[in-house]
Amino acid sequence: MVASASISEVITMSDADDDVTVPDDSSYGTLSGAFWALVIAFGLGLFFYDFGVVTLEEVANGQPIGIIHNFRVTMSVIAMVGGGGFVAVTGWFVYRYAAPRRETAAKLRPGSGRYTFSVWSLGIAFLVLMTVFMGAGALAQTDQAADPTTQAGTDRVLEMDITAGQWFFRYDVAGVPFTQGNHVVLPADTVIKFRITSADVIHSFAIQELGVKKDAMPGQVNSAWFSVEGVEGERTITVNGTEIPADTYQVTCAELCGKGHSQMVSQVFVVSPEDYRTWVEANGGTVPESFEASEGGHGEEEEGGH
């Protein structure tokens, strides 16, 4: 007790401003702790804004974005509570223990805080374990190895081959007699299974709104799937003089592929399955059996949707 007081005295005395030859880097008044805590709080506010928007925002009605979004909400809440809590405590310490206001430092007793430290670390270990299991679950659901028709809530399947190149995407959809380029017409309420490869360098096929991203590697074929539920009719496309409602999804290239990289964009027009059939037949094609066979399952899919 006595010794500790003497150490505090030494600190207090030597910290006084009387020694003019040594510049004191920290002396900007007793409010400096509050100021720096505010600076930290500013960043924390932005953190909550970014992660909060993710938690609250609406995403497109489809898969795998639905699975991804649910998992992201959980992860963002963990981040806001855990990470946000940590930063808040840091800011609070900066305010609470800043030197001009506080006269002494409490001593760190050897071995002190061991219990608390262990509990906190175990808490983190538990959270990590949770993210591992949830992550494995989400991955299994979004994977092409999974049964996409269960995830998408529909039996209807349509296959598509994508070829990426400098700087284009080309879509060969089963049943459509020609290759589509700038845009591709696809049906809603259908699992779109696609295979993708590249004609030259590495590209990546991405539909941000639907949570789809797969690299196009030369000499390798990758596959993935996605589906959209329902059509809102943001726009129309014309078939045989009639306009049918369609939704647009932006396709971007997600791997640097040269100077045309940022122009390597394309669009997916999603129309209802009935309109899709009309569109394909108007273009001289026939819808494949995997799409045909499941027409009867349409009613089930309405209730099974996510």
């Binding site: 007790m1 500790s4 600190i11 030597s14 910290d15 020694d19 510049p23 004191d24 920290s26 720096w36 930290i40 960043g43 924390l44 970014d50 992660f51 974005i65 991804i68 992201r72 992860m75 981040a79 930063v87 405590v89 310490f93 609470r96 223990y97 006269e103 002494t104 430092a105 409490a106 001593k107 760190l108 007793r109 071995g111 002190s112 805080g113 430290f117 983190i124 993210t131 591992v132 992550g135 494995a136 989400a138 991955l139 979004t142 590495i202 990546s204 991405a206 941000q208 030369p218 990758n222 932006q250 997600a254 791997e255 640097l256 040269g258 100077k259 045309g260 990289h261 940022s262 122009q263």
Partner: protein, 577 residues
């Protein structure tokens, strides 16, 4: 800097050998003095920090001006982007770390010199040489003499980089090989051997300072494990380009994915090479400016060691979209587990500050900024490490925000803390404190603004490395905000440079500006106080206290009431007003 180096540290070593060193430029070029070499590292790092930052400002301005090309064409944009990335990753953070490694390691371990001084001198100049090779093509291209500078992105995936007809890529591969083969790998061996072999006999493993653990042992060890991978990856590409050999070219039987496996085996531990030095420096500073020994001293070291080990096993989380199969599950698990080791570090830092007396000096502010940045980058990293979420986030600006948090708000932040902390030691002069505080505001407040805006852009659909965004012109509003934030951050860095240069000449002359804060604490640091040295553990720091006094549960802030509170609880438990 120059003055001190010439008549202070610089001549010390030469005097021991009983001869006069050369003067003028020869002095700098021929020196094998670790302090002078450290200063050469520092100049290199600061120079490239400025250059890399200016490049970023140019293309950020470009993005704000118009959704289409404004100042640069797309190839020019890709070039500046690539140069910015390569410069910051290879020519700023490692040389800045190297400045401290060179200058301080011998002081920390009580050695007269580095284990291999000549190798060390070679390393210093390999930075300049490598950096010039990287940047010269930009100017020769502008003059119409050569092709474009490197423009395949900083990880330079073939077959794009194999196919690009740009002599800048060859120059860059040679430059990086020079830097890594001539500097980083032997440098790492040198630092490691110096700590292990040249250490004073009375200095035990746990007596060396925390910063020395991080930048003298962990970082070099990770470096000489990691850098050979990247030298291999790049030079196989060089052989493909120059001699038409086949490694990565699918058309002739190669595998483009092979490059990514080799590259990221380097690439992930590399991230830890960039952040661990800052983390070590910040922990050192947080302890001293909280007037407390580092909480869980050995746990922090455990954290650094496990971080390095785990970092070598998570690399494929950069490749989740390339068509990997079941291995994604394994790499996801490893990536999540890393959070645990980071939390050991973060909790230790927070527990060190807890009930301390926190001096908000410039180095301390930057160290606190590092803790905050580590959390932000980690919280984004937790999502990116999940293969399911990566399908949405990969290759968007969310990733850009994430790794800028990691590299700038953790890596560079900690090193800037070190620059402020040791500036008076190296130059014998004090920097301007108010300017330092401005730098801290712009960095501690501006970086979250800048990088959370980037993450927001990513959510909205902005893809990484897009020279234009005509597919989504409404993003321009967010790009303007982001560029504004970038200029705010840059204004602080400008003040930092002016401050460093101005203080070199006009700063107040000091021996040890931290004397007031640190002298009463019985927590000496070898670089300031010399030897004999004892580690700042509670047992050593409070050794003038009788044993029974330590065990007495003292009631309030003058006492030792830490055990019940630990981290983050009982926050307002004591009252000292």
């Amino acid at each position: 800097m120059t003055e001190h180096a010439t008549d202070g540290g610089g001549s010390d070593y030469d005097d021991h050998d009983g001869h006069h060193g050369p003067s003028g430029w020869r002095y700098w070029l021929y020196t094998t003095d670790h302090e002078v070499i450290g200063i050469i590292y520092l100049w290199n790092a600061l120079f490239f920090f400025a250059v890399g930052g200016l490049a970023a400002l140019v293309f950020r301005t470009e993005l704000a001006l118009s959704p289409a090309n404004a100042i640069l064409n797309s190839a020019g944009y890709n070039s500046l982007l690539t140069l910015h990335g390569l410069t910051m990753v290879f020519f700023v953070i490692p040389p800045l770390t190297g400045a401290f490694q060179n200058y301080l390691i011998p002081h920390w371990v009580g050695a007269e010199e580095m284990a291999y001084p000549r190798w060390n001198a070679l390393g210093a100049w390999s930075i300049t040489a490598g950096g010039l090779l990287l940047w010269l093509p930009l100017f020769t291209n502008a003059l119409g003499l050569t092709g474009l500078p490197a423009n395949g992105g900083w990880f330079q995936y073939p077959p794009l980089t194999t196919m690009l007809n740009s002599s800048g890529i060859d120059a860059e591969i040679v430059g990086l090989t020079l830097l890594l083969g001539g500097g980083s790998i032997p440098g790492g061996i040198n630092f490691f051997v110096t700590v292990v072999n040249e250490r004073r006999p009375d200095l035990g493993w746990f007596d060396i300072p925390m910063a020395c653990w991080a930048i003298g042992i962990i970082t070099p060890a990770l470096g000489f494990y990691t850098f050979p991978w990247v030298v291999t990856a790049l030079n196989l590409n060089f052989l493909e380009r120059a001699l038409e050999m086949t490694f990565y070219n699918a058309r002739t039987g190669g595998a483009p994915l092979l490059y990514q496996w080799i590259w990221w085996t380097f690439g992930h531990p590399e991230v830890y090479i960039l952040v661990i030095p800052g983390m070590g420096i910040a922990m050192e500073i947080i302890g001293r400016f909280s007037e407390r020994p580092i909480f869980g001293n050995k746990w922090v070291i455990v954290s650094f060691v496990t971080l390095s080990l785990f970092s070598a096993g998570v690399w494929a989380h950069h490749m989740f979209t390339t068509g990997l199969g079941a291995s994604r599950y394994a790499f996801m698990v490893f990536s999540m587990v890393i959070a645990l080791t980071f939390s050991l570090y973060l909790f230790s830092a927070l527990a060190t500050m807890y009930k301390g007396r926190v001096h908000l000096t410039t180095p301390m502010l930057f160290s606190i900024g590092l803790l905050v940045g580590l959390v932000y980058s980690g919280m984004e990293g937790l999502q990116l490490g999940q293969p399911a979420l990566d399908q949405k986030l990969h290759s968007t600006y969310f990733v850009v925000g994430h790794f800028h948090f990691t590299l700038f708000m953790v890596g560079v932040m900690g090193l800037l803390a070190g620059v402020y902390y040791w500036y008076p030691l190296i130059t014998g002069r004090m920097y301007n404190s108010l300017a330092g505080k401005y730098h801290a505001v712009t960095t501690l407040g501006g970086l979250p603004l800048l990088f959370f805006l980037m993450a927001r852009l990513g959510e909205l659909g902005m893809m990484r490395r897009y020279a234009t965004y005509t597919y989504m012109p409404e993003l321009q509003f967010w790009h303007i905000l982001t560029t504004g934030a970038a200029f705010f951050v840059a204004s602080g860095q400008l003040v930092f440079f002016v401050n460093m240069l101005w203080s070199l000449r006009y700063g107040e002359q000091v021996d040890n500006p931290w004397e007031d804060v640190l002298s009463g604490q019985n927590m000496p640091s070898p670089e300031w106080d010399g030897f004999p040295h004892h580690a700042p553990t509670p047992e050593n720091v409070y050794d003038d206290i009788p044993d029974d006094a330590v065990d007495v549960d003292l009631d309030d802030d003058s006492g030792t009431v830490v055990s019940d509170g630990g981290v983050g609880v009982n926050l307002g438990g004591d009252n000292d007003e």
